[in-house]
Symmetry: D2
Subunit: 110 residues, 4 copies
Amino acid sequence: MDEIIKKVIDFRDARDWKQFHNAKDLAISLTLEASELLENFQWKDSERAISTNLDNIQDELADVLIYALLLAHDLDIDVEAAILNKLKKNETKYPVDKFKGSSRKYSEAE
Amino acid sequence: MDEIIKKVIDFRDARDWKQFHNAKDLAISLTLEASELLENFQWKDSERAISTNLDNIQDELADVLIYALLLAHDLDIDVEAAILNKLKKNETKYPVDKFKGSSRKYSEAE
Amino acid sequence: MDEIIKKVIDFRDARDWKQFHNAKDLAISLTLEASELLENFQWKDSERAISTNLDNIQDELADVLIYALLLAHDLDIDVEAAILNKLKKNETKYPVDKFKGSSRKYSEAE
Amino acid sequence: MDEIIKKVIDFRDARDWKQFHNAKDLAISLTLEASELLENFQWKDSERAISTNLDNIQDELADVLIYALLLAHDLDIDVEAAILNKLKKNETKYPVDKFKGSSRKYSEAE
């Protein structure tokens, strides 16, 4: 992962673009890219979206990840540690013995 | 990266949750998590948001990444290859000699 | 519509909250509320979402509209005129004789 | 408001597009339009966004409202009643005597 993060940061540094970035606008950009990804599924079920738009889905997913990595880097967040830490919290929240095969997380009212 | 992806998938498989997942709902979830991340910046500038909400920002960013990795896995997208491929497209779109230090990408009307 | 807009603005003015509002954060808030509305449909089809979450859907839709009306008011946008103007543009883009009953808008790749 | 809702519905009915609409995809579309509105504020403060992109902001705000009205119509939600009902809930949550001039709602951690 370190190598890929380095390439994302190098891309920005080669263009001297850090000066235009701030965490709030990076978080906005992440939302916008997530929407562009979702747009591929608008008016379609998953299967149709994948068969029609897979290349674009891949590109938009990459954009989401690029902004996520930029934001993490600027905030000194170690993404691997952050993911592991969140998985541990989720394990406490959804213990295997109570949630295995259960749709509760997926069926309850919000 | 492979190891972290394996842990994300293992978390899901231990609960047998793949049966509830489909690409469209994963893309929706990614958008919702990106919004929860952005919520930390609502009514605040970057500095205030970071000083007040850094722990939550880290958790929400992890959620974004977890859904991105799940979606990529289900669609057989290699995230590292997807990022490198997108960086290459961006290099063609924003060549260093024309965009170094330029705010054009950041100032033009949408 | 004027009366309902007045009530939304009166609610804000009674609390002296205009000082905290700016167009960018209102646009962020609109996105966040739209996500909270969408959350009611996460992991569900339309029918299930409506039968389970209709009250919450109504509240979140109201929040979307409230932020939309606040933003329009602050930018001196006449919402009725804006809607009519946009419908007119859409009529040119999607003429009845070419799009009646056609799923083209809904089936083409993004 | 009734008249404007009628025009929005008439636009759809003239094209026989109701058959392609369902509540979940309308909620997705609302999110996508809210993001397109927000895109006008990306990398910019409110003032710059307004001076550069006001026409587009107006169009995207109209799109948000159009999808909100379509969704409300399909779910038999009376938008004026929904807004008044939500304002009443907000009045209980944020009573004037405790929140007048207070930035608490705007400064607390999420």
